[in-house]
């Protein structure tokens, strides 16, 4: 039986104010972010603007600035902020005993 949550590693493996990636075979890569207050968020690794790899952006507060054209994307909702419009799919995350778990179903769906 495959669990509902995918265990992808320790919280500590993600740099603070940084991110790591999880490629999904046959689908889209997931970016997992860790903020300065130690929250974890996951988004599809694709900016709604021109598909910049959000994982490579600067994480500030609970947003990430896309590395290509500097749109700011809210990590919690995936929404572009300010004047910009667009949304990146969010993957539910939870932490259990220091491990990061991402929602399997959403990962599959977002990746499809």
């Amino acid at each position: 039986m495959i669990g509902e949550w995918l265990d992808i590693g320790w919280v500590n493996e993600i740099p603070v104010r940084g991110s790591r990636t999880v490629p999904v075979e046959g689908g889209e890569e997931i970016a997992v972010f860790r903020t300065s207050d130690d929250r974890i968020f996951a988004l599809v690794n694709r900016c709604p603007h021109k598909h910049g790899p959000l994982s490579q952006g600067i994480v500030h507060g609970h947003s990430v600035a896309c590395p290509l054209h500097n749109w700011n994307i809210a990590l919690a909702t995936g929404e572009a902020q300010g004047e910009d419009k667009g949304c990146t799919p969010v993957i539910p995350v939870k932490i259990d005993g220091g491990r990061v778990l991402i929602c399997r179903a959403s990962t599959l769906k977002a990746a499809a």
């Binding site: 790591r20 990636t21 075979e25 300065s36 207050d37 130690d38 500030h60 507060g61 609970h62 499809a112």
Partner: protein
């Protein structure tokens, strides 16, 4: 479960207790700690005679206030002073207290407990209040004598004995407990080092900014605090001698305190077959999966939550007692707040200060001179979280607003100043509060400027913030009064206020120049420190200010400042150029534009090996290899390094290329060795971080084939020497250089170049290229600093060369060796079992 279940069993003849003649129901309590005893107190307050009560404690003591162990350790209190209930309390209330004898098993079938010494006692109701066990990290040496946790009086005694001998102590864990232990041991004269794995102290309760303040305050008191410190082992022969970190550092110590966390103590309950999650599962009246067994305190799990602070436990005890006496009072896990004194410093946090959900806003107040930091998190005009440091007086007010979910739209402007200000008329009109100030009220504490002085300087024509700063110095130092000055401007001038010069970004009221000046003036050393001292309005800045601050600190503190990778734009973090499809391009350095067969072969091999779809000659005479995947970058660099090539920094705000022509060596017009000089200049300047990209060119004669007059620094060789020109740019707006001067020798050309670069590095704003910078400050100013002021030029040159001593190592080589490996590796990979699931 409903509360009616707790009614005494009526209509039965059977005596409630099988072991005594007492007809009352027998309540047995396991755990004589804070929650167990409080639960009994609550019960007595409701119905003193109802139950016959026996309490078992593992410790040899009566009930004491565990929170006060810290003051005992610090020598501020004695054990006697922290006793909550003395022996007489137990006696007066007819409670049997059995100490130093832990319960080892519960037999639910016969409703009896057995203790270590062999006592077996029947119960009608059993209350489990066993608290928590300290978490011991499973490193080698954890069992050595001299390793203690910080949980009970016994631990404190061990620490006091060690402290009496003096020496060094290591505390593992920079949370509340660890810091309390460190504080106590330091006061007892030990030399204390705190090891904390996360990047900032008390990361659960405080955000990074408040954690930084705490760390600074503790360091000022002489403690050593190492964050990001991962313990590998505790070493020692027969007893503790020190701690070794994963990075190899060793910290000698005769005492190691482990304070990395606690776990609900559930072994007893689990063995008895009760339902256990993280803690013992209880319902709204603290009843476990067995209706006659209840649990309160840190060992209990309610609605998925376990607690590590006393406030919620008190609510649990009330619900427990109400339930047992037949009254409904369901426990509701409520928002928690933490108001703590850590080593004598006030901190407070409540609710969700991490502000998840969309639409969250931060209101931040920083008052550096008073060491105060306040942050409120608002969502839909309601407070959902708060972090206070230094001044926690308003904590309970904010917490109240938070719990009631009150709309604070009307208070917004003054909320952060606290209840007194918000309710003192300031709320109605923040301007009125300022208008009402008397003329001699102090506005700017740093410079001692009164309201009257600010007003008169406005009256004399200072119609912008900058002008006020210049004329009367108000708000010119720490900036905490900026808001007040702006309000005074608004009151006096209405709409005539001139917009000040542009601030660095929306996180601050300071301009780039202010920030640069203050970093040096106040000797600031880290990004959180700048944000605190200059009152940043966001917790950790944004993608505009962080790279700028990182650069300013790097420039101000060569060799000392530790670069913040996460504040660098992706190209500088990856040491390659990101392209529109998310792949990277890589440019190896070719000194002065020269290359040879070996280098060309290495480049060709890389192109084939990694299937790079394109190679292109750049405008700066280098080869750019396109389409490299992030994962492949370290291998590409290793291959290029092997052929002797280093990073071209083609991605950075740094020296890019030195373009040259062939010069006197081959060209029939060449007057000097322009290629050779170009190589020398590039050797001197490579690797230096700049406010923006920086390009140099050297042409061998005035025909200027290397296009030296549209570069940041250009050299045109002449028969009589070298013509140096600056501030050129071939970008969107092409600008030809301004002539700086002529010099006679190559060495002078190099010296002037170094001095000019350093002036630019120290004075330009981040992301300002030399062209706009020179247009702003004027070429005459640059000439005065570089050409006329010989001593100043020499000093600039020396500072440049000094800082180059730290920056000329090849970032590719470090990465190829595995530094920051995780930046290139995926965290995990996911291969769905069945691909059709993807559909």
């Amino acid at each position: 479960m409903d509360f009616q279940d707790y009614q005494p069993r009526e209509g039965t003849d059977e005596p409630a207790d099988r072991f005594s003649g007492d007809p009352r129901e027998h309540l047995v309590v396991v755990g004589n700690g804070m929650a167990g005893c409080r639960a009994v107190e609550e019960l007595l307050a409701r119905d003193a005679g109802r139950y016959r009560i026996t309490i078992f404690g593992a410790e040899p003591h009566v009930n004491y206030n565990r929170i006060m162990l810290s003051p005992v350790l610090a020598g501020e209190k004695t054990f006697d002073e922290i006793i909550i209930n003395g022996r007489d309390w137990y006696r007066d209330n007819g409670i049997t207290l059995i100490t130093d004898d832990p319960i080892v098993s519960i037999d639910r079938a016969s409703a009896a407990v057995t203790s270590r010494s062999g006592r077996t006692l029947g119960y009608d109701r059993l209350l489990i209040a066993t608290g928590s066990d300290p978490f011991i990290i499973p490193v080698p040496g954890k069992d050595l004598p001299g390793v203690v946790s910080f949980r009970d009086m016994k631990d404190v005694d061990t620490m006091l004995a060690a402290a009496a001998k003096g020496g060094a102590a290591v505390v593992i864990g920079g949370g509340l407990l660890g810091l309390e232990a460190a504080h106590g041991l330091a006061l007892r004269g030990m030399n204390v080092t705190v090891l904390h794995l996360p990047g900032s102290l008390m990361e659960r309760q405080l955000d990074e900014a408040a954690g930084w303040l705490l760390k600074t305050a503790l360091e000022e008191r002489g403690q050593t605090i190492l964050t990001g410190a991962d313990t590998a082992e505790i070493y020692g022969d027969g007893k503790v001698e020190g701690v070794r970190l994963k990075d190899g550092r060793e910290i000698p110590a005769s005492l190691v305190v482990m304070a990395v966390g606690i776990r609900p103590s559930v072994a007893l309950a689990r063995e008895a077959g009760l339902e256990v999650g993280r803690g013992i599962k209880v319902d709204d009246h603290m009843v476990t999966s067995d209706p006659s067994i209840l649990a309160v305190g840190e060992c209990a799990e309610h609605d998925g939550n376990v607690y590590g602070l006393v406030a919620p436990l008190w609510d649990m005890c009330r619900s427990f007692a109400d339930g047992l006496t037949g009254k409904a009072n369901p426990y509701r896990c409520s928002a928690t707040s933490t108001k703590l004194k850590v080593a004598g410093l006030d901190v407070f946090s409540a609710g969700d200060f991490s502000g998840v959900g969309g639409g969250c806003e931060d209101i931040v107040l920083r008052d550096a001179s008073r060491g105060i930091y306040k942050r409120l998190v608002l969502q839909d005009d309601r407070i959902i979280g708060a972090v206070l440091y230094g001044d926690t007086a308003d904590g309970s007010w904010y917490f109240d607003l938070l719990r009631k979910g009150e709309c604070v739209a009307d208070l917004r402007d003054v909320l952060i100043f606290g209840q007194a200000f918000a309710s003192g008329g300031g709320a109605a009109d923040p301007k009125a509060a300022v208008a009402a100030l008397s003329d001699d009220a102090e506005i700017c504490g740093c410079n001692g400027v009164s309201k009257g002085q600010v007003l008169s300087s406005i009256a004399r024509g200072a119609h912008s913030l900058d002008a006020v700063r210049v004329t009367c110095k108000a708000s010119a130092s720490c900036g905490s009064c900026t808001g007040l000055v702006e309000t005074l401007l608004a009151i006096t001038l209405g709409d005539d206020v001139q917009a000040g010069s542009k601030t660095m970004c929306k996180c601050t009221t300071f301009t780039h120049d202010d920030v640069r000046r203050e970093i040096v003036a106040q000797d600031m050393r880290s990004i959180p420190e700048v944000m605190q001292k200059l009152h940043w309005s966001t917790p950790d800045g944004c993608s505009s200010c962080r790279p700028a601050l990182n650069y300013y600190l790097l420039c101000a503190l060569p060799g000392e400042y530790i670069d913040d990778q996460q504040s660098r734009f992706v190209n500088e973090r990856m040491h390659a150029n990101i392209q529109k499809d998310g792949t990277y391009s890589v440019v190896p350095r070719m000194w002065g534009g020269l290359t040879n067969p070996r280098e060309l072969r290495a480049i060709a091999d890389v192109v084939e090996k990694y299937n790079a779809p394109m190679v292109k000659v750049t405008g700066g005479q280098r080869l750019d290899i396109f389409g490299i995947r992030k994962e492949d970058l370290p291998a590409v660099w290793a291959d290029l390094n092997a052929a002797g090539m280093v990073s071209g920094h083609a991605y950075g705000k740094s020296l890019r290329t030195v373009k040259t022509c062939v010069g006197s060596e081959w060209c029939r017009f060449g007057t000097q060795d322009s290629t050779g000089l170009g190589v020398r200049i590039e050797r001197m300047t490579w690797g230096s971080w700049m406010p923006h990209k920086f390009k140099i060119a050297v042409s061998g004669c005035p025909r200027n084939c290397a296009e030296a007059t549209i570069k940041d620094f250009g050299v045109v060789c002449l028969d009589s020497g070298y013509e140096l020109s600056v501030g050129g740019n071939g970008g969107i707006k092409v600008r030809a250089t301004d002539l700086l001067c002529r010099v006679a020798t190559e060495q002078e050309a190099l010296d002037y170049c170094a001095a000019f670069i350093q002036l630019y590095r120290e004075e330009a704003r981040y992301l300002e290229r030399t062209a706009p910078w020179i247009e702003r400050v004027g070429i005459d100013y640059v000439k005065q600093r570089i050409v006329e002021d010989e001593i100043g030029r020499e000093a600039l040159r020396a500072r440049f060369l000094f800082s180059q001593g730290f920056s000329q190592d090849d970032p590719w080589a470090q990465r190829a060796e595995g530094v920051a490996r995780e930046q290139h590796a995926h965290m995990a990979q996911f291969r769905p079992a069945r691909l059709e699931e993807m559909a």
